[in-house]
C-alpha cells in the first residue's frame, strides 16, 4: 500500500520540509536527454519493448523516466538523440488509417521542458486547408479515450515551454463515482496536477505548491488543435469536460485552436494564469452541461489578453471574470449568440483596469458588458466596441452594491444619476454618470447636426449610432466619434448624420472607467419630422467555419410561407429527462427540418406536470430541454440556433389531474421562429406520450 493518508492540514505542514528535499528539480534541463521521437504506434498500454513507439513511451523517454535501452531495437530507431538543451520533439508517423490514439489510462505528466508535440508532422496534414486562422486545418492525429476506459485528462503539462500543435483531443471526462473528481480537461496545465479523485487507488498526494509562482510552468503553447471534436468535425460520442484548463501556469499561449462541444468551459483558469494569451481561437458551443461560460477566468490573471477570437453559441457568458486578480485586455473578439442556456451578460467583468476594445458583442439574451458592484470594480475601459441584438444595456454597471442572483448574471439595468459621493463606493466603475442628451430629438442643420448634452466634467464622450429600434435604450451599433466634456460638464458635437439616425453615447474617464449608455436621441429633419431609415437585413445565426473562396452562388430563398409538418413537442416519463426512442424519432424529424432551413431558430420550452415543488420542477424542465437540445446538437443542429427556456410547472398543457393529463404536461415544446418573418404551421403530436 503506497498510499499515504495525511490527516488534516497540520500533518501536511509538518511533512513539507522532508518533501522539499525529495522533490527533484523539475527545471533541471541538463538532467534530461533530448530526443527526436516519432510515434509510430497508435496503441496504448503499459510500456514494453515491441514493434512501434507509442505516445506514452515517447513522453516517458522525453521525461527521462524511460531510457531507450528499455525498449526494443525497432523502437530505439524512432528515438534519435538531439543536442541537449533544445528540448525533445515528438512527431507522428502513424500508419495511414490508424491515426487515432485511444488512451486507456492517464498519460504521464509532461515534465520535459521545451518538449514539442507536433501533430502536423503526420503525413496527410494539409496546411493549406486553413482558410481562417481561427479555424485551423483538421488535424490528422487524434487523441481520445479507448472505448470502455475513462481518462480524465488528455495532456497534463507541468514543464516550461511545452508546445502542443496540430492534434485533435476529445472525450476526456470522468463518470459519477463515490467522490467527486477534480475537473477533467483536454489539456491541463499545472505544476503537479492534482489526482483525479481521492479514492485509495489514486497516486499518493503531493503538495500542489500553488503559492510558488516559480514552480508554475511558463510559456506553454497550445496551437492549431481541435479540442473537443474529432478530425471529421462531428459531435463526439463522449464529449470532453473542459477544453484547456490553465490551472497554475504563467504566460500560457492558446492560439489558432478550434474549441468546441465541451460540457464545461472551453478555457478555464484556476489558481494562476498570469500572462495568459488567448488569440484567434474559434470557441463554439461549449458549456453544454456544466460551467456554461466559454472563457471562465478565476484566480490571478494579470496582464492577460484575449484577442481576435470567435466566441459563439456557448451556453453562458462569452467571457466571465469571477473574482480575478489582475487586469486583462479583451480586443477584437466576436462574442455572439452566447447565453443559450443562461441569460448572462456576454462579458461579465469583475476586477479593476480591464480593457475591452474593438469587440463585436451581439445577439445575447442579456446585457453586452456587465460590471459588478461587488467586489468593487473600477477603471474598466469599455470603448470602441460594437453591439447588436442585446436583451439589456450595452454596458451595465451594477449599482447600490447589488449582489442578487440576477446581478451576477444579467446586471441590474440602467442606473440613476449619482446623487451622492457614496454611490462611487457601491457601483461598478465608481458610478460614472452616463451622458445625457439635452433633447430626445435634434433638428439637423444644413450639413451637420449639433448634438449637445451633459456628462461628468472632463470625461471623454464616445458618440454611437444606434441601428435597432427600442427606446430609450438600444445596442450601440457603431462608434461615430469622441468629444471631451467641458469642465462644466457639457459636451457638444457636430456630425454629418442623415435625418432619422438615432444616437447614443458613453462617457469614459481614466480615473473611473466607462459609463452606461445614454438614452437614445434622434436626428430630425429640418421640418422636425423623423424619417424612417432603411432597416438592415436580419443576420442569420452563424458561427460556422468560413467556406472556401469559390462560393457557389445560392439562389435567394423563396419568400413564401413555409408549410411544414413539424412536430412541436416531445414528451417525457415521470420525473425523467432522458429521450425515449419514440421521442428520438420526433427529434430526428425536427433536426431534419432545422438542417434543411437554416433561417429557422428554435426556443426549447421545458415543462413538467404540477406535482413536486416549483423549484424542483424548474430544474427538471431545464434538464428536459437540455436533453432535447443536446440530442439535436448531436444530430448536427448548430447550437447558436437553439435557446433553452425552462418553465417548470407554470404552463401546463392540460387542466386535469389524471395520468394522461400529467403525461401531456411532461413535455418540451419547440417554438420555431422564422428569421425572415414568415409564418410556420405546427403540429401537436402525442405519439411518444409516456404514462406513469
Amino acid at each position: 500500500m503506497k498510499q499515504r493518508w495525511w490527516i488534516g492540514y497540520g500533518a501536511v505542514a509538518l511533512t513539507v520540509p522532508g518533501l522539499a528535499l525529495t522533490v527533484p528539480p523539475v527545471a533541471g534541463q541538463s538532467a534530461l536527454g533530448d530526443y527526436s521521437l516519432r510515434v509510430t504506434s497508435p496503441e496504448d498500454g503499459p510500456v514494453q519493448p515491441d514493434e512501434g513507439l507509442t505516445l506514452r513511451e515517447a513522453i516517458e523517454l522525453a521525461n527521462g523516466t524511460l531510457t531507450p535501452e528499455q525498449l526494443s531495437e525497432a523502437e530505439q530507431a524512432f528515438a534519435q538523440p538531439l543536442p541537449t538543451g533544445q528540448g525533445s520533439r515528438i512527431g507522428f508517423d502513424l500508419p495511414t488509417g490508424q491515426t487515432t490514439i485511444a488512451l486507456v489510462d492517464l498519460l504521464p505528466e509532461i515534465v520535459a521542458p521545451e518538449l514539442v508535440i507536433d501533430g502536423t508532422t503526420q503525413a496527410g496534414y494539409d496546411v493549406s486547408a486553413g482558410l481562417d486562422p481561427k479555424f485551423p486545418p483538421a488535424p490528422v492525429v487524434s487523441l481520445t479515450v479507448a472505448e470502455g476506459s475513462e481518462v480524465a485528462r488528455g495532456l497534463t503539462i507541468a514543464a516550461d515551454g511545452v508546445t502542443v500543435r496540430g492534434l485533435s483531443l476529445y472525450g476526456f471526462r470522468t463518470s459519477d463515482r463515490a467522490t467527486q473528481t477534480t475537473p477533467p480537461a483536454d489539456i491541463f496545465i499545472s505544476a503537479l496536477a492534482p489526482p483525479v479523485d481521492s479514492s485509495p487507488l489514486s497516486p499518493a498526494l503531493e503538495l500542489f505548491r500553488l503559492e510558488d509562482a516559480e514552480a508554475a510552468p511558463r510559456g506553454v503553447i497550445v496551437e492549431q488543435n481541435w479540442l473537443g471534436l474529432p478530425p471529421n468535425g462531428e459531435f463526439p460520442a463522449v464529449p470532453s469536460a473542459f477544453g484547456v484548463s490553465v490551472f497554475n501556469a504563467v504566460e500560457t499561449t492558446i492560439r489558432n485552436n478550434r474549441i468546441q462541444n465541451h460540457d464545461g468551459s472551453a478555457i478555464i483558469t484556476g489558481f494562476r494564469a498570469d500572462g495568459l494569451q488567448v488569440s484567434e481561437n474559434a470557441i463554439i458551443g461549449n458549456g453544454l452541461a456544466g460551467m456554461p461560460d466559454a472563457i471562465r477566468l478565476e484566480g490571478a490573471i494579470a496582464s492577460s489578453a484575449i484577442t481576435d477570437n470567435l466566441i459563439c453559441a456557448n451556453d453562458g457568458s462569452g467571457i466571465y471574470f469571477f473574482k480575478t486578480e489582475g487586469a486583462a485586455q479583451i480586443s477584437g473578439n466576436a462574442i455572439q449568440y452566447n447565453g443559450r442556456r443562461f441569460e448572462r451578460a456576454a462579458v461579465y467583468l469583475m476586477g479593476n483596469d480591464h480593457q475591452l476594445s474593438d469587440n463585436f458583442i451581439g445577439y445575447q439574451p442579456g446585457p453586452g458588458v456587465a460590471v459588478t458592484a461587488y467586489p468593487l470594480s473600477l477603471r474598466n475601459q469599455i470603448r470602441g466596441n460594437r453591439y447588436a441584438g442585446l436583451d439589456g444595456l450595452s454596458i451595465d454597471l451594477n449599482t447600490q452594491g447589488n449582489t442578487g442572483v440576477q446581478d451576477f448574471q444579467k446586471g441590474d439595468g440602467p442606473n440613476p444619476p449619482r446623487n451622492s459621493y457614496h454611490r462611487r463606493r457601491e457601483t461598478g466603475n465608481a458610478a460614472i454618470n452616463s451622458p445625457e442628451f439635452d433633447a430626445y430629438g435634434f433638428v439637423t442643420g444644413a450639413a451637420e447636426v449639433t448634438l449637445t448634452g451633459t456628462a461628468d466634467p472632463g470625461t471623454e464622450v464616445d458618440l454611437y449610432r444606434v441601428a435597432e429600434e427600442g427606446f430609450p435604450y438600444s445596442p450601440l451599433s457603431e462608434p461615430l466619434g469622441t468629444v471631451t466634456a467641458s469642465p462644466e460638464g457639457t459636451f457638444s458635437a457636430s456630425l454629418a448624420l442623415p435625418p432619422g439616425t438615432r444616437v447614443s453615447a458613453i462617457a469614459s474617464d481614466p480615473e473611473w472607467g466607462t459609463s452606461e449608455p445614454a438614452p437614445v436621441a434622434a436626428v430630425q429633419a429640418a421640418d422636425g419630422s423623423l424619417p424612417e431609415l432603411p432597416v438592415t437585413p436580419v443576420e442569420l445565426p452563424n458561427c460556422a467555419a468560413p467556406v472556401p473562396p469559390p462560393e457557389p452562388v445560392e439562389p435567394p430563398p423563396p419568400l413564401e410561407p413555409l408549410v411544414l409538418t413539424v412536430p412541436r413537442n416531445i414528451h417525457f416519463a415521470l420525473d425523467r429527462s432522458d429521450i425515449s426512442p419514440e421521442s428520438a424519432e420526433i427529434l430526428d424529424q425536427i433536426a431534419e427540418v432545422m438542417l434543411e432551413y437554416p433561417f429557422l431558430t428554435v426556443e426549447l420550452h421545458g415543462h413538467t406536470d404540477p406535482r413536486a415543488s416549483a423549484a424542483y420542477n424548474l430544474a427538471l424542465s431545464e434538464r428536459r430541454s437540455l436533453a432535447a437540445r443536446n440530442y439535436l446538437v448531436r444530430q448536427g443542429v448548430p447550437p447558436e440556433r437553439m435557446r433553452i427556456v425552462p418553465f417548470g410547472e407554470t404552463q401546463r398543457r392540460s387542466q386535469g389531474s389524471g395520468r394522461v393529463e400529467y403525461a401531456r404536461d411532461r413535455r418540451v415544446e419547440f417554438v420555431f421562429t422564422d428569421l425572415r418573418g414568415l409564418e410556420i404551421t405546427f403540429q401537436d403530436q402525442e405519439a411518444d406520450l409516456q404514462l406513469e
Partner: protein
C-alpha cells in the same frame, strides 16, 4: 284557477294574524320590569342575637342592586416587554376609582407566572399607603383602607426573572377589587428570552471555490455569492457576496446541512483529497448547547450535469 285563489286568501289571512299579534303585544301598558329600571335597591342585612349584654345587632355592608356602578380601572405596565433570566422587571399598577362611590376597602392582588419572584421590600405606593401587605413567592396582596371617588393609587414593585421563567408563559395578571365593585383585572405579557440560559447554538460556514482540494479556504480561493444551504429542519440559507453565512438560534443536537447545487450553476462540490469524510454532499455537525458549529462547502467547476 279557483284553487289558486283560495291558496292566496289563506296566505293573506296568515300574514294578517302575524301582524295583529305583534301589535297587540306592544300596545299594552309598560311592564313592571321596565318600571324598576332607574331605581336603586339598597339591601342591607342585619343580624340580631341576644348576647350576655343584651341584644346585639350586626349590620352587613350595603349591597346596591340596579345602580350603574362605574367599575374601577386598573392599568398595568412594565419597564420592558422582554426579559431574560437575571433581569429585574419593574411593574407599575395604576388603580383609579372613576365612580361616585368610595371603594373601601380596596384590595389589589397580583399573580406572577412561573419563575418570577418578588424582590423583597420593593413595593412602593403613592399617594396611599397599604394597611396590609401579604407577599408570597408568586403573589402579592395589598389592602388599602379606601379609595375616594376620582382618586388614584399607583403601585410599583420589582420582580426578578429566574431561569424557571423560561418554562412559564410570562403572563402576569393584576386584580383590583372592592366591596360593591366588580373586580377588574389587567394582564401583562412579558416575553421571556432564554438569554444566558439559552441552549441554542450557532452554525457558520462558507462556500468557496477550492483550488487545492483541501476543503479549507485560503487566499486565492474566492467565496461564491448567493449559494443556498438547506438545513435538516428546512431552513434555507443564502451566502453573502463573500460566500459566508451564519445561522443563529439553532437547536442543539445533530444538525445536517447540504448545498443546493442548483443555486450555483456551473459548480459542484469539490473533491477533498485529504479527508475522505469531507467528500460527502452534506455536512454533519454535532452542535452542543450554546455551541458553535462549522459547515464549509468547497466547490469546483463542473461538467456532466446531464448525468444526474
Amino acid at each position: 284557477m279557483r284553487r289558486n285563489q283560495r291558496q292566496l286568501y289563506r296566505g293573506l289571512l296568515f300574514l294578517l294574524a302575524l301582524v295583529l299579534s305583534y301589535f297587540l303585544s306592544h300596545v299594552g301598558p309598560p311592564s313592571t320590569v321596565a318600571q324598576a329600571q332607574g331605581r336603586v335597591f339598597v339591601n342591607q342585612a342585619t343580624a340580631q342575637f341576644d348576647g350576655p349584654d343584651g341584644p346585639v345587632e350586626v349590620t352587613s355592608n350595603e349591597t346596591r342592586v340596579g345602580e350603574t356602578i362605574v367599575p374601577l380601572s386598573i392599568v398595568k405596565t412594565a419597564d420592558r416587554a422582554a426579559a431574560e433570566p437575571g433581569d429585574v422587571v419593574v411593574y407599575r399598577l395604576l388603580v383609579t376609582n372613576p365612580s361616585s362611590r368610595v371603594a373601601a376597602p380596596l384590595t389589589i392582588t397580583d399573580q406572577l407566572p412561573r419563575g418570577l419572584i418578588y424582590v423583597p421590600n420593593s413595593v412602593q405606593t403613592t399617594p396611599l399607603q397599604p394597611t396590609q401587605q401579604v407577599i408570597t413567592d408568586s403573589s402579592l396582596t395589598l389592602t388599602f383602607p379606601s379609595l375616594e371617588p376620582g382618586a388614584s393609587v399607583s403601585i410599583a414593585y420589582g420582580v426578578l426573572i429566574t431561569p424557571d421563567a423560561v418554562r412559564g408563559d410570562g403572563r402576569n395578571v393584576a386584580q383590583a377589587s372592592a366591596p360593591g365593585f366588580t373586580p377588574v383585572s389587567a394582564p401583562f405579557q412579558l416575553t421571556i428570552r432564554p438569554g444566558i440560559v439559552s441552549d441554542c447554538g450557532t452554525i457558520l460556514g462558507r462556500v468557496f471555490v477550492d483550488k487545492n482540494f483541501d476543503g479549507q479556504q485560503q487566499p486565492g480561493e474566492p467565496g461564491v455569492p448567493n449559494a443556498v444551504i438547506f438545513m435538516d429542519d428546512g431552513n434555507r440559507i443564502l451566502t453573502d457576496p463573500d460566500g459566508l453565512f451564519s445561522l443563529a438560534n439553532v437547536l442543539p443536537g445533530y444538525r445536517v446541512g447540504t448545498l443546493d447545487l442548483y443555486s450555483l450553476p456551473g459548480y459542484t462540490l469539490a473533491p477533498n483529497l485529504y479527508r475522505i469524510e469531507d467528500n460527502s454532499a452534506s455536512r454533519f455537525v454535532r452542535l452542543s448547547p450554546g455551541g458553535l458549529g462549522r459547515m464549509n462547502f468547497a466547490v469546483t467547476p463542473t461538467f456532466g450535469e446531464e448525468q444526474s
